[in-house]
Symmetry: C2
Subunit: 206 residues, 2 copies
Amino acid sequence: MSQSCISDLVVSRLPLYLRAMDLMIDKGKKSISSHELGKQLGFSSSQIRKDLSQFGEFGKQGTGYDVGYLSEQLRRILNVNHIWDVALVGFGNLGQAVASYSGFIHRGFRIVALYENDPEKVGSKIGDLVIQDISEMVEDIRHRKIKIAMLAVPTSEAQNTAKTLIQAGVRAILSYAPITIAVPNYVRIEYIDPVSRLQQMTYYLE
Amino acid sequence: MSQSCISDLVVSRLPLYLRAMDLMIDKGKKSISSHELGKQLGFSSSQIRKDLSQFGEFGKQGTGYDVGYLSEQLRRILNVNHIWDVALVGFGNLGQAVASYSGFIHRGFRIVALYENDPEKVGSKIGDLVIQDISEMVEDIRHRKIKIAMLAVPTSEAQNTAKTLIQAGVRAILSYAPITIAVPNYVRIEYIDPVSRLQQMTYYLE
């Protein structure tokens, strides 16, 4: 099936399958059945089989999925069989936390550039990275051909910053600002908004 | 329609509608059409009308939605017309960032307890809160009847900590650990995993 026929909902589950495979590898597990994987992830085994079958034949009747092979294939499908360079814009509390998160590199992403407009922060070194002035952002991103950015700027600046990033060539944005950002259809955008997730749960609470 | 008939997918969109209404209020806007709201959120106007109609009749032909009224109603539907007490477990880099995030209180949540197992951190004061030893967690949560927890512990401790929280009476968990956690069906769990969101986008990148 061609890539464009696969629903966003299926694609959104692939990282969870990959995450589960990598956890299995860490535990030294060699194979897993769709039933067992489903139990772990809270999905039905038929959903898992259906999702994965859209990309090829990964499971074997009776023995289930080869964990190492499926991990490798999911990495290929998700395009994270190499490391992506990522720019981080905004270095307030949130940006600092994102920058210090150690979970990116093993899963395909490396923050290679930090941009901030506070002159007191610009020029400081964070690990190997120097915080750059946001005025250098467009040229720098263009020059380095960075395609992915994480947005940790104040809500009021999120839409404009996204626009600038896209002009510079960014094609995927992960925004931490609690606002829906308009992007052209050739750009992907995803959001991290913990409060929306909390509200989604309080709906069900008494 | 009774609450149990409404799909999780519809519920997951309600916080986005509320967020948009509150932004409109900030901008002094009094009403909005489903078409305009849809354009802002990247949904079709018919989807918005269909979603909201499951909870009552909020829009008026010709004038659209009354922003203040819809905001109030969404708050009631999502049970955030009052402030929820939230416990935060884990006070490493991530937990510190979560604790310092100022976006919770205006949207229905207040962190009232911090638990950590690092003896060097226990006893420190963060704003008005004292970091408590994780050994006090169960009794404290039970005593204070806290129903919501955010989990910022290392991946290897996430499942066990969730189990303990549930035993203490927590019924909704927002986990920042990149691992799927098994919970009984009377408990809600949501995840914040920026890498999964990034991988979901790289799927579409060349």
